[in-house]
């Protein structure tokens, strides 16, 4: 895994990179988070919601690309509902 740029809040995925297939509901107001080295869904949930235990919200919103909440990849774009 390679560390990428810092998280870009609300920035849509860079289409030049290999990206997960966008869910139909994605639009201008979909909030995005780019996974960085050392991130877990728990950590991301703690950062964006203040409470790591809310990580299932992020997992549910990304089930089209995540099959396991423990398996996220650096550079991956996650929807933050």
């Amino acid at each position: 895994m390679q560390e990428k740029t810092p998280p870009a809040w609300g920035t849509p995925p860079d289409t030049a990179q290999e990206q997960p297939e966008a869910a139909p509901a994605d639009g201008a107001y979909t909030q995005w988070y780019e996974v960085k080295k050392g991130d877990t869904l728990w950590k991301i949930a703690k950062e964006v919601y203040g409470d790591g235990s809310l990580y299932p919200e992020i997992f549910k919103a990304n089930q089209d690309t995540l099959s396991d909440p423990d398996k996220i990849q650096v550079g991956q774009q996650l929807r933050i509902p």
Binding site: G10, A28, Y29, E47, Y49, G50, D51, L54, E57
Partner: protein, 203 residues
């Protein structure tokens, strides 16, 4: 000689009387002509002032000129100019109605266009804000950078936006596009503020 002078005096008097009588004969028609024109201007109502101010101004200026002629007892000149001005004044009502109709059609088109933008934009924005507020409401602790007051303001803003959007869509369904757009604009303002307060990026 004396008889001739008396006769000349009588003749002058008679001519002056005839002239005065002639003027008096024209004064009433002149007065009526002005009244008719003013009635035609009044009939055009406030729509004329709102939608065809230049045309209205042109007529009222000419009415003032006629009144000046009346004051100068130029009844002949007044009566000569009156028919054209009356026709112009009578045309104000139709011209104002036509201009009003055109203005309303243009406004409706603009409202329809703006509504199209709002209807394509607001539901997604409302859903994004509502989702975030809902999740943050379950959080045991707010994230860094978001204090309780800001969150409460964003939450109430989202609630108000939801209620206003319901009103906007109801107004649109009822065909009241102006009311729909006005409410829609308020929704956008509230949602933009809520997103900013929550630290969300606006599309």
């Amino acid at each position: 000689m004396k008889l001739k002078s008396v006769f000349a005096g009588f003749l002058s008097l008679a001519m002056a009387a005839a002239l005065l009588a002639g003027c008096a004969n024209q004064m009433e028609p002149a007065k009526k002509a002005i009244a008719d024109i003013e009635a035609a201007v009044a009939a055009a109502g406030p729509d004329a002032a709102q939608y065809i101010p230049d045309q209205l101004q042109a007529v009222t200026t000419q009415v003032a000129d006629l009144k000046m002629k009346f004051d100068q007892k130029d009844y002949k000149g007044l009566l000569a100019a009156a028919p054209a001005l009356l026709a112009q004044a009578q045309g104000l009502t139709a011209a104002a109605a036509s201009a009003k109709q055109a203005a309303e059609a243009a406004a409706l088109e603009a409202f329809n266009s703006e509504w199209g933008t709002l209807a394509a934009d607001v539901p997604a924005q409302l859903a994004a804000v509502t989702s975030r507020v809902g999740i943050l409401s379950k959080s045991k602790k707010l994230p860094a950078g978001l204090d309780a007051a800001s969150f409460a303001a964003a939450k109430s803003g989202a609630d108000e936006a939801k209620a206003l959007w319901d009103q906007a869509t109801a107004a649109q369904a009822a065909g009241n596009m102006e009311q729909a757009v006005m409410a829609g604009r308020q929704v956008k303002e509230k949602l933009d503020a809520a997103m900013a307060g929550l630290g969300m990026s606006a599309g």
